[in-house]
Symmetry: C2
Subunit: 365 residues, 2 copies
């Protein structure tokens, strides 16, 4: 080992002092210990206190095992707070899980930050790679912010199970968690594409773009690879006092037979209607962007779309009210819209958000 | 261990048979053993035979060590071939390296495929997650393609060192590697943003988008974190008989003093001019997308842009011909254009490609 140069030692000492000083001057706040509930994006907030999960414990027994496991991921959850601190740090722990090949770690296990200032302007705040990636403990630091006394919104990692989270601000700064939103949510049930695959970062998940663009409260019921429309799922969804339900099942449910798709969606819609008159928007899958040279890759997906359409038309004929439909082609994909032809990338997530925003405007005008 | 069910055994046997049959019916071709050189995107093709690297061995001695290491990555390399096979497989080995947090594995170590049919139409072909990710050996399979006797272009992983690659096609199919392009290239020298951070997949690196949009031969001289304009770099670049040089150094060179930036770029341009009259386009860094609430995060980057501008103006005054300039604002970023505020995501890579395409049209009209 070579002896350290004087300059190197100086830099190390300086760095340690800075880190120490930084740690000393921050006050840390824990969302699950806030005086009021403050975790947005969940259908059962009161039952989920103390957690960053999405389905209440009582559902574990009857829920498909994969759905239950994925419900532990913090997809679509956000925490809002006001502070005048110019420094922000986030430190959290996750259940260590292998990195997926078709998603950045920043999306799978990272956080994303937006803020709204007193003039009502909302902007993204990048992390500029001021991060620390442990296998379990992850942290991000933001410095010299000029939001004023802003309202921040922290987007949690869609593909990770959070076991703790702390927000650090300057000791002398004001700080308050915003109470959880209680306006009736748009409930979005679907596949990995809803859970958050595969934009570059959580804020660019289409459900989160939609939340910012429309201002609606959104409950993310995306379950990667596991959106198979089981009765237990619709039973759970029907408990939520929703403003509108989006059912976007085909990217997983195409694995069922046409007959089974029709049966499950029909029973599901009836299940929702037993409890709710909220509009129900059924959506086909994305249009295949590489269809020209690879035309058969999603033949089955297209048949499944037709089955969904048939179910929709039967429901209309049966007189079920408030049912709406989105065609594949309404999601305007370019050839650049997907990462591997199974999940939308940033460009595809923008296209999804745009299509759904338009549809929601038509329905909820 | 539970005994396997009959159905499970049946599926496994079926799968093994299919894989075996698949392997038997494919013929495998190795680009480095092709009768003619066939790896595109390099300045020193004849010296780099048998490798997927970017700088010839004789340069190792004088090149900064980090640049040399990164030159082993296959950034911007492509292989073109014609075949009428409806099945394609790619099997390759890489030097195992830790996954970067701000990039999908599919971009860091994956391949991407485009094809052009006999009518001259070019389209993307997604992999539909038909892949196998070992730590060292990676493979992708494409089936039931309808390209006809197409010309395929395979984009290699920008952040991996390839140690072998084989292309598998049906045994009875035609197959030919296309000879390496020999038209004078656009040589792009820069940082990680040039090397390929951080679109969702290799085909969406802005240098590769630019290649498809303009049809130009492109040499990717991106060196992540290491674009510091050392004399040795410009000496190397000056050896290439370029159609045009793009120098996009600021996202790394901002770490130098203004004085040093001016000195290095000025000497660098003179170095290029000693050998070449090709247009030289100097580019500022990207416009900071989160500047509203985080205005100081890139103060230094903006000063460095001004230093570059000053150098450009001095060069003009000194009568150096064929020097062009791109302002930060000509790269039209939205707030959604970056993954962490340091690298463009898919949206940002599209913006980069668009800006440079416009600039190249102005210069090379």
């Amino acid at each position: 080992m070579k002896p350290l140069k004087a300059k190197t030692i100086y830099i190390i000492v300086l760095l340690l002092c800075t880190l120490h000083a930084g740690a000393q001057t921050l006050a840390w706040y824990d969302p699950v210990k806030a005086p009021q509930s403050c975790i947005n994006g969940r259908g059962w907030d009161s039952e989920l206190q103390g957690t960053y999960t999405r389905l209440p414990n009582r559902m574990q027994k009857n829920m498909p095992e994969k759905v239950w496991k994925l419900s532990q991921n913090a997809a679509g959850l956000t925490i809002r707070f006001t502070t005048n601190s110019r420094t922000l740090q986030f430190k959290y722990t996750v259940v260590n899980a292998p990195q997926l090949p078709n998603m950045s770690r920043l999306n799978q296990a990272g956080i994303d930050l937006y803020a709204t200032n007193n003039n009502g302007h909302t902007h993204w705040i990048g992390n500029h790679m001021q991060w620390n990636w442990g296998p379990d403990t992850i942290s991000f630091a933001f410095r010299e912010l000029e939001t004023g006394e802003g309202t921040y919104e922290l987007y949690l990692p869609p593909y990770s199970t959070l076991t703790s989270l702390k927000v650090g601000v300057e000791k002398e700064a004001t700080f308050n968690f915003c109470p959880v939103r209680t306006d009736n949510p748009i409930v979005i049930y679907g596949s990995s594409i809803i859970q958050g695959a595969s934009p570059s970062r959580p804020g660019l998940m289409w459900t989160n773009i939609l939340q910012r663009q429309t201002g609606y409260n959104i409950v993310n019921m995306g379950f990667s690879g596991s959106c198979l429309m089981e009765p237990e799922l619709f039973k759970a969804l029907s408990e939520i006092d929703a403003k509108l339900f989006i059912i976007d099942p085909i990217p997983n449910s195409y694995r069922l037979t046409d007959e089974e798709i029709i049966k499950r969606i029909t029973q599901g819609v009836h299940q929702l209607r037993r409890k709710s008159n909220a509009p129900i928007l059924l959506s086909e899958s994305y249009p295949q962007p590489d269809i020209t040279f690879n035309p058969h890759a999603e033949d089955r997906m297209r048949s499944a779309n037709k089955a969904l359409r048939a179910a929709y038309e039967s429901l209309l004929k049966a007189g079920v009210k408030g049912i709406y439909y989105q065609n594949s082609q309404e999601i305007e994909f370019t050839e650049d819209a997907m990462i591997e032809a199974s999940h939308p990338n940033d460009i595809g997530n923008m296209a999804y958000a745009k299509a759904y925003e338009k549809k929601l405007k038509e329905i909820l005008h």
